[in-house]
Amino acid sequence: MENQQINSGNARVDYEYRRRRNAEEMRHQVISFAISIFLTLVAFGAVLAGFDKWFVIPFILLLAVVQVIFQLYYFMHMSNKGHEAPQLFIYGGVIVGFATLLCFLTIVWI
């Protein structure tokens, strides 16, 4: 039972506390979903509006990064405790992936 945190020593109180906390977490998830939809709409809108491409490309890439952070930290629970190893793995992957992108776009096939 080492993973189960009994704070009050009273199973019923703990149960209600957990229920409330899960419901609150779900509310945060719905908010981050609404933000994701909003960011997607802004990205499509920016392309349809036909702004200069030197503005649009960095802008929509930034929106994508923000949206992915929401996905990772809320939908995939990386903001919860006990996610040190996932952070190491994902950021490790991101760094190697970034190096790959940089290499392909500057040295190979140009």
């Binding site: 189960q4 779900m26 998830q29 490309i57 994902i90 992957g93």
Partner: protein, 208 residues
């Protein structure tokens, strides 16, 4: 806590996906795999960007001739929605509501199938309608490899979630299958993460 122990909503542990050693190992191993997947997709994105609009002769099919924003928009919305429905499934898993979890997983699978249908239509339109096959140009190969590999992940994810739903339909929730459901939902979210970059880098940047 034994894996086959019977639970009630009140005795169900706080983090059922990590309550057993097997669950903990799956959690670690799966995130390690996702780190590797990140590198895999990064190399496909790098290849696509390097070979974007590289065609054998002038006037050949390039990104602005192919992509249609309305279709990309619908596909994005369908996949984003399937992400929140699988979050709902995990919410009910944590509250020990097996039936509600199964129902939300079913909605997730149906949305995934809708997405897949749109993608098949899109590829069919490009190959048969426009003659833009896999070996047509360097651009077409890079495009189909990147987007098709993502579609392959969708197919695998759908098969995975469906298999879990069918296999555990009579068993109910236990510490044996809670990590399985949790990991499958993580995979589904990761598919969505990749799609966010695909719709931005391939479809939106292809139309700028």
């Amino acid at each position: 806590m034994h894996v086959e122990e019977q639970f009630t909503p009140k005795t169900w542990p706080e983090a059922p996906e990590k309550a057993t050693l097997e669950g903990k190992n799956k959690f670690l191993g799966f995130w390690f795999f996702l780190g590797g997947e990140t590198v895999l997709f990064a190399s496909f994105f790098a290849t696509y960007l390097a070979l974007k609009d590289k065609v054998p002769k002038q006037g050949d099919l390039v990104s602005t001739d192919l992509f249609e924003l309305p279709l990309a928009f619908i596909m994005t919305m369908v996949l984003l929605t399937s992400s929140i429905t699988s979050v709902y499934a995990m919410y009910h898993m944590k509250n020990y509501h097996f039936k509600k979890m199964q129902a939300w997983l079913l909605i997730t699978v149906l949305l995934g199938l809708t997405f897949l249908g749109f993608e098949i239509y899109e590829f069919y339109h490009y190959t048969h309608g426009l003659g833009f096959g896999y070996t047509h140009s360097a651009f077409s190969s890079a495009f189909y490899t990147l987007v098709g590999f993502h579609g392959g992940h969708v197919v695998f994810g759908l098969g995975w979630i469906t298999a879990l739903m069918v296999r555990n339909s009579k068993r109910g929730l236990s510490l044996y299958n809670a990590p399985k459901f949790y990991i499958a939902s993580l995979y589904w979210h990761f598919i969505d993460v990749v799609w966010v970059f695909i719709f931005t880098v391939v479809y939106l940047m292809g139309m700028v």
